[in-house]
């Protein structure tokens, strides 16, 4: 009888111990799985941040390099060209006095070539560093860009915004939006064979939206990505947007052509007015 009682207790204790182990095992699996997921997420976040930092650094370097080239063009080549123009002017007076028509014609041709070169250097400098963007803001920079394009191409470019006074945003954000607009418009001109481009800039309390629509041949972004034809254009847009937590969406309007919409969270410029991005000052860019 005593043995039977002991057996009952032994069985009860053994079963309870086994059950406790089973409970512990279930709890351990849940805990360990959760911990591993958190760890994976942490590693993925670190990788993401690192890639973002790399991208940010690369874009910063690109802007710094653009500024350096613009500065060199203006300070060195620009100055030398201005001096050449002055010298040619003086020489032109001397040649004019001699009365040789042939010499005079060569002189005028040289003067016009130098003037043209100066204009080209100015244009390249302005293209490299959008000074209007830093001085006057995004709307003015876009308008200037459109004006220049319309001069050079047989294109109709319409620009509209949902606000008359577009509030100034952080330097990085404005530059990002400007470069994306540049890239999308250039893509439309190069690849879409379009005759009309619409640029719409919208801002609300949380987001800024930039829509570029053309009436060209249109494209399927997924197919382009799959076939590795995206090149630096579309990838560059996505990379720039990743840094400012933005997104881009491509659409094919029913009436034809293509439309790209970039959306970026609003980031108003800080209280102090940002340092003007002047191409003619040697400074490090911190975008």
């Amino acid at each position: 009888m005593q043995n039977s009682e002991e057996l009952k207790w032994a069985l009860l204790i053994a079963s309870l111990a086994m059950l406790a182990m089973a409970f512990c095992m279930i709890a351990f699996v849940m805990y360990y799985q959760k911990r591993r997921f958190e760890e994976e997420k942490r590693i993925s976040d670190i990788e993401k941040n690192y890639n973002r930092l790399l991208l940010d650094t690369a874009l910063n370097s690109e802007e710094t390099e653009r500024r350096r080239i613009a500065q060199d063009l203006h300070d060195d080549i620009g100055t030398m060209l201005s001096l050449t123009k002055l010298s040619l002017n003086q020489l032109s007076k001397l040649v004019g006095n001699s009365g040789d028509e042939k010499e005079e014609s060569i002189m005028k041709k040289s003067q016009s070539l130098v003037e043209e070169t100066i204009l080209h250097v100015r244009r390249i400098t302005r293209d490299l560093v959008p000074t209007t963007l830093e001085r006057f803001g995004l709307m003015e920079a876009i308008e200037e860009f459109i004006h220049k394009l319309e001069e050079d191409n047989n294109l109709v470019i319409a620009f509209q915004s949902n606000t008359e006074e577009f509030p100034r945003q952080g330097q990085k954000l404005e530059l990002t939006l400007y470069r994306i607009m540049q890239e999308l418009v250039n893509n439309a001109i190069k690849h879409a064979s379009c005759t009309k481009i619409d640029i719409v800039l919208e801002i609300d309390e949380e987001m800024i939206g930039l829509r570029v629509t053309d009436n060209g041949v249109g494209f399927d972004p997924e197919k382009i990505k799959e076939s590795n034809l995206a090149g630096l254009g579309l990838l560059g847009i996505e990379s720039r947007l990743a840094i400012v937590n933005g997104t881009v969406q491509y659409e094919q309007p029913a009436k034809g052509g293509s439309s790209a919409i970039a959306r970026i969270p609003v980031n108003p410029a800080s209280g102090n007015k940002p340092e003007p991005l002047h191409p003619f000052r040697r400074e490090r860019v911190n975008i």
């Binding site: 053994a14 699996v29 591993r36």
Partner: protein, 232 residues
């Protein structure tokens, strides 16, 4: 007509609840269309077989007839159905081979155990519970569950285990077989026609965990969604 059955249910409420609670996961399987998933289809078959066998055993028990033959025969059948669920969950060929071998092995082992535990097979009145088979089944099931848990952790495919049906099913099985593993061999000596051995509260532990297991099955099936079938 059912007086003896009612009397039996009233006298043995825990083991009776363990029989009828199977209806809950069965109904949920039909409502949630969980049988679309191959593993859950086998679980559905198990639940159906278990309900039929349990009801048959309850009927015989209430008519004071030895029903242990059903218990003995259900061991390889239940292991084949429950273990079979893991066949669709394991990705490794060696694990699948082990599983099939264990199902076949347990079938023969159980047959030997029935013969070994009963001197006269034709004497149904004195038929006794197998001595080792239930314990072996428990060990194999626990092994399969632990193997599956290991693969689950290693693969990191399920972000939230609490909404993953098969995790709840495995947890229920692990608890049930853990509660049974030490008691199973003793049942051979306790459940005889002229029972002289009283196990006390220990006797109810497997039934209690059978109920908990059915409830955990229900939670798992409740979390099943045919939309996520491909992901599972």
């Amino acid at each position: 007509m059912f007086d003896s059955h009612f009397a039996y249910i009233v006298n043995n409420p825990i083991s009776s609840i363990a029989v009828f609670v199977t209806v809950l996961p069965l109904t949920l399987t039909i409502v949630r269309r969980a049988f679309v998933d191959q593993s859950l289809r086998l679980l559905f078959c198990y639940l159906l077989a278990k309900l039929v066998i349990d009801l048959a055993m309850l009927h015989l028990a209430s008519n004071r007839t030895n029903n242990i033959i059903f218990y003995n025969l259900s061991i390889p059948l239940f292991y084949a159905l429950l273990g079979g669920m893991f066949y669709f969950k394991f990705e490794g060929r060696s694990q699948r081979r082990f599983l099939i071998a264990s199902i076949i092995g347990l079938f023969f082992f159980c047959a030997w155990d029935v013969v070994n535990s009963n001197q006269d097979l034709h004497n149904m009145r004195e038929h006794r519970v197998v001595l080792y088979s239930k314990t072996v089944e428990g060990v194999l099931m626990i092994l399969l569950i632990l193997l599956y848990f290991y693969e689950l952790i290693k693969s990191l495919q399920i972000p939230n285990l609490l909404t993953f049906p098969f995790f709840w099913i495995c947890s229920g099985l692990l608890l049930y077989y853990s509660s049974l593993i030490f008691i199973a061999p003793v049942i051979h000596y306790a459940y005889t026609w002229n029972n002289t051995m009283d196990l006390g509260i220990t006797e109810f532990i497997p039934s209690i965990f059978e109920i908990i297991c059915a409830l955990l099955f229900s939670v798992g099936i409740y979390h099943y969604s045919p939309k996520d079938y491909a992901k599972q």
